[in-house]
Assembly symmetry: C2
Homo-oligomer: 327 residues x 2
């Protein structure tokens, strides 16, 4: 039986799909479903190609009640920059959850991953940040530094954003972008300690393997989202940050203890108990922030459930975008 | 950096890509690479959606020396027939093995799987069947019954094909198709024992869960390829067939002992040793058939290496077929 499959490019996605509260809401729904336990999410399929200095990861998840499920393929070819190509590419495929037929192929080069990752940051900020955030800060100056601040501003409309990065020029460019896209005051901080001291909401977005945020810097009325660590060797927060917080929340505990901030804390003998997961805070199964003065930490490593949520959401919003192929 | 991605439909593939010795040769190369041990092939990713009576499997493999690697997604939605849709669908994506960029999306609905599965049968027949095959027989009447006989005829140009199936009408239709496509005499057999007795090459292509080919029926100068069993519950050959043969060959021993004919044999306490793999016969690392009178068995469950091989092969043969999308 013939049916149409839609092919959508990165440029078409960028034109049609903004980072908005709709994206945040649908990713929040994915976390809630994860917490209810009715999501099927196999372990990540990973294939290393050592002679190519490359790796490819495949993620998927089925969320009952969603119209579709996504399969995401993320190749990382780390010699690509010498060819003038980005290291990370990939695509996402949305299948009908009713028939298994291919619905949409998103040739997105990771754009939907960027969106759903930023949306998860907003979900964390919505449920964990202090009610009044006037200043937000970001450690890191890349794509996620920009997107995390834009996403957080949707749920906590702060007046000022602070940017710190190892490279002052990149930090300036990031601050300039944020001032323009959010339309607020943006400042560079030359040291991360000052940035944390002045902020009520901090997001870490670096590939750090040595911690860049110290436990001593944590102060009342602060929420920190650490989203840079997604592999075993990475760590942005000093391990002592986690027990020092009033509340530590994982996106998926079974992942954060392997590739998130929880890994180093566990290795240091800290945080022996089963942490709360973000979805449990969303559904109310476990308590979130108790007072404005609490210190909270969210540890985000990325889940296939977010991919299924964003792909389903985007497919419904695309209008006439893309190329239809009759099969 | 913009590049073009090609989207190819099942109809375009069927028009452009025949089952020929080129396909057999490239799949043979994949088995040889598997035997040399330089293929990276992660375990199958499998996601069950019980409330949908559905499952999706993802396979991949990297074969050094091949220009690309494939990722195959195979959804099985077993209530689809009640909607007038086939149960099995899916697609295959070919990535550059140099850059990880998406090269081609094959919206093939399993056609490339059909091709590479038939090609593996031909590789087995090429290396294991007696030199002179005048009569070949097939148990089963579906797509693979047809393709396996066409593929086997490429490497052993037999004069006559025998067909057995539980449903006489389907067996007649299959025999008629084979007579027309191969251009040889085709007969229906009303019992499988007679079919085996008259054949030098037999392929079993059924979803049987109770064996349909008895050990007593095996006779000198016979090769049997069993390719129907690809899940734990399936079995086409009586377990005693395996030790009775002079040579048993697995496509991948780690798979056939879980989902192929080797599973039942092992469960019956037979075949304790590590069997030869098809690639080892191809490379000469282990001996194949020793005399025309030998009885040989090949047990094929399907590998991601075959998917990478067929996808790479097909991409090189497509000419102008497909739709190019600029990304």
């Amino acid at each position: 039986m013939a049916h149409d499959i839609r092919i959508v490019t990165e440029a078409e996605l960028r034109a049609a799909i903004p980072l908005d509260t709709g994206a945040v809401d649908v990713v929040e729904g994915a976390f809630a479903a994860l917490a209810r336990g009715d999501v099927v999410m196999p372990p990540v399929m990973s294939m290393a190609m050592h002679d190519r200095n490359a790796e490819v990861d495949v993620k998927t998840a089925y969320i009952p009640g969603f119209d579709g499920f996504a399969i995401k393929v993320s190749p990382g070819f780390f010699d690509n920059p010498s060819l003038g190509l980005p290291s990370l590419n990939g695509l996402m495929i949305l299948f009908s959850a009713k028939t298994g037929l291919v619905d949409t192929v998103f040739l997105d080069n990771g754009y939907l991953t960027d969106l759903r990752t930023a949306a998860a940051g907003a979900v964390a900020a919505r449920h964990l940040a202090p009610p009044d955030v006037t200043t937000a800060g970001v450690l890191g100056t890349g794509v996620q530094a920009r997107l995390q601040m834009r996403a957080a501003h949707l749920v906590r409309p702060f007046e000022r954003v602070l940017v710190w990065g190892r490279d002052a020029r990149r930090a300036a460019a990031c601050a300039e972008d944020l001032a323009a896209t959010i339309g607020i005051e943006a400042e560079i901080c030359t040291d991360p300690e000052t940035l944390v001291a002045r902020s009520q909401l901090v997001v870490t977005t670096t590939p750090a393997t040595d911690p860049i945020l110290r436990a001593d810097w944590l102060h009342p009325e602060l929420h920190v989202t650490a989203m840079g660590s997604d592999q075993e060797g990475k760590q942005e927060l000093e391990a002592a940050c986690l027990p020092r917080a009033d509340l530590y929340v994982a996106d998926r505990a079974s992942q954060t203890e392997v590739m998130g901030e929880l890994r180093a804390a566990r290795a240091a003998g800290l945080m022996p108990e089963q942490p709360a997961e973000l979805g449990e805070i969303v559904t109310g199964a476990r308590p979130g922030r108790q007072s404005a003065r609490d210190i909270t930490i969210a540890d985000l490593t990325g889940t296939g459930a977010q991919d299924t949520a964003i792909a389903t959401h985007v497919a419904q919003r695309l209008g006439d975008a893309g190329t239809r192929i009759r099969t």
